[in-house]
Symmetry: C2
């Protein structure tokens, strides 16, 4: 019988993350201090991030970083995640393409976000931190951090984008179940929140406002560190476990991907699946297409500009050299909350600039068409974020059909959509619209 899913045994799971910075010819440009504008070092991040993550952020020399034993142990709670041959989808499309996906939705919290949450919580604990804080939109990252914090005995405070807090109570409940305090942002509990709410009453919140509040809490609270789920280089580093596993699993399947496709918010899952394969491109010139898929209503890669910009609304974060729509940009309220962010991580931004990565944007209805087709063919209801990668994969698979090419496509299924059924309901009842790019 043909093999559908490929797993690694626990002793085959990679023990090191891959740091692509070491192999980049053009290194990412420096971060700059938000107030002084001076180039920053790891030490400058210590007031906000734990020390080990700060050092990883600036590490441009070591290609391999040891995964701590305790983090590896917690990885075995859900890893290896399966690499799946999407026979069902191939048959539904009648395509000669070979479609594979890495199924990160099987993580306890339902998405790939846990890969970095475990690492960040572990390092915080090691350094004597007692409290962690973060922001979350739809709640995938917040759920992951809440669970990781509980595992390592840390108290977690999560600022959740207010509109999501109200519209998506399930994810909020999951964070609370894991013991986290969840506050809708903007709130009156921080100076940043007060400034926003007095200037703009009834502000519905954004990742930018929530980051500002969490960073402020970390800066003003002893033993409290900020964590985040995307954008930063150390997050991309932790996520490379995805691609490193996938590389071994593709070997088990006897194939190598011609194209690697992932949705794009700040870059965490894209980096995670793409970077380990990209080392063969950087080191040996191996030709592989890397495709980042973003929502048409938040197109930082296809329509943004490369610039120094803040990561948050209030301007508390370092200035980062990245593709951005501007830190005051307010994305339309699409269901893929995890992709509603104005900027891209600095490594990905440099790699796009250097021509290694292609970007593609996707409308919401095409995404849900793809999600529905995928659910019926493979049985897994995908998160709307992941739906962007699926939609792009379907486009590519249909092009293969037209040209009679049996390309090997690999995409990352970042999470499941079990707690996004409201969105599916809207789609199924014909009430979904494509949201425009805001002015």
């Amino acid at each position: 019988m043909r093999q559908k899913r490929f797993f690694l045994t626990e002793d085959q799971i990679p023990t090191r993350w891959y740091n692509i910075q070491a192999d980049m010819r053009n290194k990412p440009m420096a971060l700059k201090h938000p107030v002084t504008g001076k180039e920053m070092t790891a030490e400058d991040l210590f007031p906000i991030f734990c020390e080990e993550c700060s050092r990883q952020e600036f590490n441009q020399t070591d290609a391999w970083i040891e995964i701590p034993a305790k983090v590896r142990e917690m990885y075995t709670y859900y890893r290896s995640t399966p690499l799946v041959r999407a026979y069902g989808l191939e048959e539904a499309l009648d395509t000669p393409a070979h479609i594979y996906f890495k199924n990160e939705s099987v993580s306890p919290v339902g998405s790939h976000k846990l890969n970095s949450a475990l690492a960040q919580a572990y390092y915080c604990k090691q350094e004597g931190v007692t409290n962690v804080t973060t922001e979350t939109g739809a709640g995938q990252w917040g759920t992951a951090l809440s669970y990781a914090a509980k595992l390592f005995g840390l108290e977690a405070a999560v600022y959740q984008v207010k509109i999501s807090y109200e519209q998506k109570p399930y994810r909020r409940n999951m964070m609370q179940l894991f013991g986290a305090q969840v506050t809708p942002s903007p709130s009156m509990s921080t100076r940043a929140g007060k400034d926003i709410l007095t200037a703009m009453p009834n502000h519905q919140g954004s990742l930018g406002t929530a980051i500002s509040e969490a960073v402020e809490l970390a800066r003003t609270t002893p033993n409290c560190k900020y964590t985040l789920g995307s954008v930063m280089s150390h997050v991309s580093l932790h996520q490379t476990i995805i691609g490193l596993e996938a590389e071994l699993q593709m070997q088990m399947a006897g194939e190598y991907p011609d194209e690697i496709i992932a949705c794009f918010g700040g870059g965490s899952n894209f980096s995670g699946i793409a970077f380990p394969f990209m080392r063969h491109t950087l080191r040996d010139g191996r030709k592989t297409r890397y495709i980042a898929v973003e929502p048409a209503s938040c197109p930082k890669l296809t329509k943004g500009k490369f610039m120094y910009d803040y990561g948050d609304e209030a301007g508390y974060t370092p200035l980062m050299p990245m593709y951005s729509l501007g830190h005051k940009f307010r994305p339309a309220n699409i269901h893929a909350g995890g992709l509603r962010y104005h900027g891209a991580g600095v490594i990905v931004s440099q790699l796009i600039k250097d021509g290694y990565i292609e970007a593609m944007d996707m409308d919401q209805i095409e995404v849900f068409d793809a999600c529905t087709l995928f659910a019926r063919a493979e049985g897994i209801i995908p998160a709307p974020e992941s739906g962007h990668a699926i939609a792009a994969t379907i486009r590519r698979a249909l092009e293969c059909k037209e040209k009679g090419e049996s390309k090997v496509l690999l995409f990352n299924l970042t999470g499941h959509g079990m707690v996004d059924m409201v969105a599916y309901n809207q789609y199924l009842s014909g009430n979904m619209i494509n949201l425009p790019l805001p002015e």
Copy 2:
């Protein structure tokens, strides 16, 4: 590093189901015709069920039944499911017991129900059936059947208990996403539904009313067969894939369970995990405890009587020799919708009568205490149904601690609770109560 999860490769997955009826000294008593009271044969079920399932229902001779190749192929979409050593839970309880669970929540539809839905849909398709129908409470079985029907190109009509249809839209949306027609029961579309609604306006529905409607639809529609997710012996047969896999996986772990624990609604998951192990008890006298856990508000095993009773409200189904609270029993509205059923399957009922199985009942708050502890220790948010097995396992593990015994406990995690967050919210906010046994 200690091993956390045990998987089978696809070629290690069992190729046959285990039919415990062949090994029972006292065979289950005959089903009787609901109107004539005469003993029934497989042929008498043909108007309602597909033929192969009808034959399996009455098969008391063949211990092993071949799993069709196409069903085995679809099993590889999610099987083997992991056997997990619950190190996190053991540490949280500080118990010398070794706790294992079989994680059926990783199935595409989030529960073990798919194991039988795939088989039933396959046999229907083979026999030229075009339409299938069924009932569902909380929606786990309905979701499984909807997905399986879509895979095999069958049209599915699901009658969902009205109160669940209204209170739990997520599961309804999942069924609709898989292309099923979902009708709240009781409805005005069947005679049974009309009779109920004219006699009792505003009836909120029960599994009993929904079964009546689905059975009526099958009986009155050409090429339409009824399917169901529990109680019947052929369903238990299909679910033995759980225990057969677990047996091989326990061998990989180098242990054998002293106690096997599962929640109990109609018996599908309990049978699935317990029967393969129980063959060693029946054949060789191996001493193992088998513990079925039911809600205190629906205690058919601990407080019901062994009797001939109908499976549904209207009395359309065969009369079955089973432990029952009476087919007019209306269970309180606990969150574990899958356990709100008045009767137990005929095989399990006979085995309880013969002393092979112990029953235990559990209050709702102890269940959610257990679910929360488990979620924080193992990262998986369990379905409230599964929470009954977890609560019983915790009780047993704490007894082991008291006595200093390192027993090996194995329980079945039937499903995840991602779409049951409303229940968790009620629990977390202190508004949950223990529901009494209705008069």
